[in-house]
């Protein structure tokens, strides 16, 4: 699904170079749920941006679904983002002056999908995250948890192959976080690959695998069996 080998990313200004990713390698299989952990500035978000084709990299190779993405044009990268990748950001990143329905509609619009098909997908996605009754509300009229659920609806409505979530529970309390994690696990159970950046080790245990990043490199990898995952989920819901 995602295969990175020796990927490097350097941010340059006139006076300083910051190595965000150094010789970074990872392989994520279809249907996997991978938690990415690490301290602030370790390169987690840069990895997610590179994986999501939001940022280009300087060296190494990256294959997404077997396709070498370094050779893609900007338009092709946009199309892949639109069709194969769903994004969930820390602050939900909803467009403030669009209601929830229109926010979820945004990526489908760029796919030039017919209105009827869009409507079907939007209502299904909002139903799945439990926001059908809030579809005409503006983001500011929803709680933080509801906003994040709306962002999840936007991410899944295009039926992506992979969801990239950057601290999706970062601004939420424990109860809300658990609800979001339940939702993500359920989406993963349907076959969607998920890469989730998190600071929270307990949430990381609900993934199949935890990849710990230090200074732009993969430092440690932990695999969790179904028992550990269930126990983490039960602990959280208790």
């Amino acid at each position: 699904m995602i295969v990175m080998n020796g990927v490097s990313k350097v941010f340059r200004t006139d006076i300083v170079e910051t190595h965000a990713l150094r010789d970074f390698s990872i392989e994520v299989k279809p249907g996997e749920f991978v938690a990415i952990t690490g301290h602030s500035g370790s390169g987690k978000t840069t990895f997610l941006n590179v994986a999501g084709l939001l940022e280009e990299f300087d060296r190494g190779t990256y294959h997404l679904d077997g396709q070498d993405v370094s050779r893609l044009t900007d338009n092709e990268r946009s199309r892949i983002r639109n069709e194969r990748i769903g994004f969930i950001f820390q602050g939900s990143n909803l467009i403030p002056d669009l209601n929830i329905y229109d926010n979820v509609d945004a990526p489908l619009h760029y796919r030039r999908m017919p209105a009827a098909e869009r409507h079907k997908r939007i209502t299904a996605a909002l139903e799945r995250v439990g926001l059908t009754s809030r579809m005409k509300h503006l983001p500011s009229q929803l709680s933080g948890g509801q906003q994040q659920r709306a962002a999840i609806a936007r991410a899944i409505c295009g039926s992506p192959r992979v969801i990239l979530a950057d601290e999706p529970t970062g601004n939420l309390d424990t109860t809300m976080s658990d609800q979001i994690m339940d939702l993500l696990q359920s989406i993963n159970a349907d076959g969607t690959t998920i890469l989730m950046v998190t600071h929270n080790p307990e949430l990381a245990q609900r993934a199949h695998r935890q990849v710990h990043i230090v200074d732009g490199r993969v430092d440690q990898i932990h695999h969790f069996d179904s028992g550990q995952r269930a126990s983490a989920a039960a602990g959280a819901n208790a």
Partner: protein, 455 residues
Amino acid sequence: MLLHDIRLALRSLKRNPILSLLMIVTIGVGIAASMIAMTVYSARAGHPIPWKEDVLFAVTMDTRENEPPPPGMPLRNFEYPPFTLAYQDAVAAYRSDIPRRSVMMYRSGQLVTPERANIKPFHVPVRVTTADFFAMFDVPFRYGGGWSRAADTTAEPVVVISKYLNDKLFGGANSLGREITLGGRQFKIIGVLDAWMPHPRFYDLSGGGFDLPEDAFLPFEWVRAGRIFPQSINCVRRTARVVNFESLFTEECLWLQYWVELPDSAAHARFQQYVDNYVRDQQQRGRMPRPLNNRIVNVSTWLEMNNVVGDDTRMQVMVAVAFLVVCVLNTVGLILAKFLSAAPIAGLRRALGATRLDIVRQHLTEVVIMGLIGGALGLFLSFGGLRLLYALIFARGLESSDNPARLTLAQSFTHMDFPMLLLAVALSVLTGILAGIYPAWRIGRLTPATFLKTQ
């Protein structure tokens, strides 16, 4: 997609209403200034008789002293021969049978004494002209027609009057055959003109050219028979003086406009040769000391030689366009600030799959809509500005006139016609695009990830 972009644009405009309003007003004021200047320019720059551009020619001969230009006179003006002819030169030209039609003429004024006692005598402008005037300039008749060439030589007491004069004296009825008293003499009406207002009055541009045609037209021989003095006389030789009426016909004084209708370029060349030969002959007789400078020019060139549009009007258009450019540049800064403040949303849309083109198009749609709203405001301000211009320049002059054509003439300078409205719309769209193309391009070039963290 366009509908989607329009919806987003309107939302974006509402998001920063004060900034949006500021940009719209800036564009509106710039467009208003341009449209007012262009309306006045367009009113002055029109071609009065385009269908005869290739056959109608003004004739000039250079009869001046062979001296350098007087101090202060622009070289451009000095280079042209005088715009009128002396009597003897006009008569010589009139002898040629090369032109299909020829007209020599001048403007004067006469007192009209109405038969009806309730109308006081009043002055009207009069044109004394040879017979071809009406056919040559395609003058429309409501009743009757002009006179024959024979009437020019015998001073037949016939007259063609304007629609205004016919309305005033006869209530608009068919007045053919009736008599009118002009300068104390009786003239029989043989023609009544329909509404006719060449704009500018190209056949006689004295006084700037933006005046109405005359109200009475008399056969040419009435210059002698009626001793009707021309309104303007220009004596070009140091020794020339108009000491009495007869000296009009012998002195080096210019007072006749001269026009010919030539069917093709061969006829034009032959007539040019004819005039040049005549001038050479006159030079041998001690007249016309300057080098050959006889010009037989079409209407467009004639209007240009007479600077009908006017340097002031051209300057006004240039200043107005420069002002619009300044407005556009100011708007560029404002739009850039607005777009950059919303860059996180653009970044988010890029993350969700929008291409650069999607983002550029969405932002350009917004500025075009802003341009159109600014254009609508500009049109509103233009109408107000033109009304003000009308009140300041024309209103007082109109109070003392009962000629409705004068009102039409005044309105032609302050009236925005359909092509000008179309120009305003095009200018609005263009202004929006010019002001927004760079900010839209900038926002489209941003890396999607740049602003996502800050959203």
